[in-house]
Symmetry: C2
Subunit: 507 residues, 2 copies
Amino acid sequence: MNGAQALLRTLVDSRVDVCFGNPGTSEMHFVAALDSVPSMRAVLALFEGAVTGAADGYGRMTGRPAATLLHLGPGLGNGLANLHNARRARTPLLNVVGDHATYHKQYDAPLESDIDSVAGSVSGWLRRSESVASVAADAADGVAAALAGQVATLILPADVSWSDGATPAAPRPVPVPEAVGDDVVRAIAGVLGEGTVLLLGGAALTEAGQVAAARLGVTVFAETFPARMRRGARLPAVERLGYLAEHVQHQLTGARHIVLAGAKSPVSFFAYPGKASDLVPDGCEVHTLAAPGQDVVGALENLADLVGGTAVAPRAAARPALPTGALTVQNWADVIGALLPENAIVADEANTSGVLLPVATAGAPAHDVLTLTGGAIGLGLPLAAGAAVACPDRPVVCVEADGSAMYTLSALWTHAREGLNVTTVVLSNRAYAILRMELQRVGATGGDKAAELLDLSRPDLDFVSMATGMGVPASRATTGEELAARFEKALVEPGPHLIEAVVPALM
Amino acid sequence: MNGAQALLRTLVDSRVDVCFGNPGTSEMHFVAALDSVPSMRAVLALFEGAVTGAADGYGRMTGRPAATLLHLGPGLGNGLANLHNARRARTPLLNVVGDHATYHKQYDAPLESDIDSVAGSVSGWLRRSESVASVAADAADGVAAALAGQVATLILPADVSWSDGATPAAPRPVPVPEAVGDDVVRAIAGVLGEGTVLLLGGAALTEAGQVAAARLGVTVFAETFPARMRRGARLPAVERLGYLAEHVQHQLTGARHIVLAGAKSPVSFFAYPGKASDLVPDGCEVHTLAAPGQDVVGALENLADLVGGTAVAPRAAARPALPTGALTVQNWADVIGALLPENAIVADEANTSGVLLPVATAGAPAHDVLTLTGGAIGLGLPLAAGAAVACPDRPVVCVEADGSAMYTLSALWTHAREGLNVTTVVLSNRAYAILRMELQRVGATGGDKAAELLDLSRPDLDFVSMATGMGVPASRATTGEELAARFEKALVEPGPHLIEAVVPALM
């Protein structure tokens, strides 16, 4: 058995049985070994940003890592932005980055580069497999590291892949989140009351976490960009903190205690001249019930039991009416809210166009929302692919800004090849609308040249043509009626669809 | 004057007057400052891989750096693969990577990441601008560093951009390539003769370098993947070393001395089990006339003068006949050879489909060829964009493999927005054909799953639809006649065009 075969067997024995990949020559033995390990599913993407974004979506939905297969430093580089998002999401994910054979590196061949430094920037665990004797153990260790909620990266030299004499390694114990001490829970109980704000993140945004949080009788918010949040009808009404610092400051007005439950203390996404970066109100104390990675649901349940909190009425089922007339930033979201199917997964990279989506879908049937955790745009389409591979029986709805879609558009081809049940709605406002807003917020004054850099028209992007060219049936909607008809039809038909919703830019 | 304004004025004073960019919030003051510096041209690309690849093409054609504008670590990551190619090409290029404000970094906001480590992997010069007092000097230093033939990266915190009190800095002296000593030239003269192979790279592949080399009366090859090579009718007949190690070994059979003139000693692109990585024949000595970055043309001319070499007959003008019938790997290249216009720039990422292109174009009117220097695919379309911005009066022909095209396809939109005279021929063989070959060459045996990962059909990619969707007029050709008719028409009409040439896969 060669190194690649032992690695793949170790992965499937460790319950890592999906690999998103875009291989090159140094990965050919890994590719060949796939046929000797039938239970490993290999999914091709045409660009590594789609590979890593799909692995992120898969990991968020299963709680288990997918493997990626990346081609040396440039392949890793192409996947880096979505690995950044995965790192921020604390997604379990295992990169396998092929490298030159160990003895070949000295020659500084054209594809030689410093993989380790680049990988280190996103990886909580990083190892270079040194020999065929260690590669399987390295893989098992990497899976365990990933399961702790981080990006793990294994650099795999070609000769370690192709050399014989390897044996699979036993799965490592699955890491268990650290429990929160009773003393911490008791201390937090002492600060609950009027003026206390509970901030939920990570696993606290499961249904169990939110139900426990709702029993505490305090104001509850979700972190701004959750990796995965359960919401909708019959769940507690938990609003997310806003993207804009001014919005967060409004939401936190009057807070005297902020309790962090799997979330980080609120900070501004960017710095703005003369504005605060730290969004904790003056005089407000910040307490940590559970840090990211700790057993936050257990802590919330213990806390709720301790204070005797009782269940509160969840959100009622309620959908917006189907809108009519030309699409607006409001009414396209109402279409989604009106028609979102039961137990959907929503991959949300709608950016400015999606500002009203959370309201429109609040009372829709319960669903999971996956968001842009790290701010590195180009995540939505790959994320949807990974979620659909993870959950083939659930409808996936991808709401995607036009500017962001262009970063990793080839993920649509993977939607098509794998026949994924992803319905993509591209919000085509023909602008980097968020940057028009940010240009003003940072206090800058641009002219025509600045405007040109924030404009996506001249020429207009035709997402119907582009999607069709990658094998995804596509159509365009300019009115609420058209969007509703096309969205309903797409949800019913198997396989992927794309609808270009032509909306006005928010700015 | 704020930091961004001083930076931009310093750049244009230093003859850096094109900026390819894809900005975000932290770059808004840079964007706004563009309107205060009219002589800086800003070119928007919709993905950073297109930004950096375009800057590479621009730098190769002008010898001067373009600036890039990249958004924090993820934007740099997206551009990393083509920066790797630029590093291998020794292209002058100046990255400006926006970062959070200096005081904001402590908050670990979602987009915070280790920019320095990632940038360091591709940059010969790297600096983080610390204050508005230093930013202009940093920019001037960065330009000078880039002009030495390397990627220079300036990390620009948002508050350094927006703070007032900056003044432009004076241009630094343009670095001059180190001259090669007469002793070295004399020593090399002593090894010229039968059994000597001269290997040209870098500036040696200008017309002057090749003409001088041809006077030496020895076998001359060009490096495998030149950054820029002048060739065609009335130039010396210089063949490139092959991509396949076996091919190079054949080309170097009998060599007793290899003289490096701006090139590196030949090594295999990848390692293969049981095959050599070092391609220098046994017993052959390697001598360096000029290392990359030294004044190689001067050294070659001095050497030719010393040995009294006389000019040799250049290649005669000769074009292949226009082919008929279904497209093949041979005849599409003959179309290009038959119709390539005078003084064209050929951005070549045709990969396996392009194996016969050098022969087909050898006697075409003199032209420049830009190749995939670092092996990081996804370069061709951006490279063509940058070359067209650099040389608006020259026709640019981009020959592009389908698999590689998908990495940075959105560069087509920049072709359209800027009205660039780029004629792209996508060789659509619906496979990663090179990997089918490499799978065999590494001695691996794959089955259906391996084959699936190397296949680009199911669904077929429709480049006509995709290009049209980005505003580039497009058509498809399946025969030699169709390709010739469409190629001729595209060359005559202003602005970009794309032709999808449906060719059989080499394997």
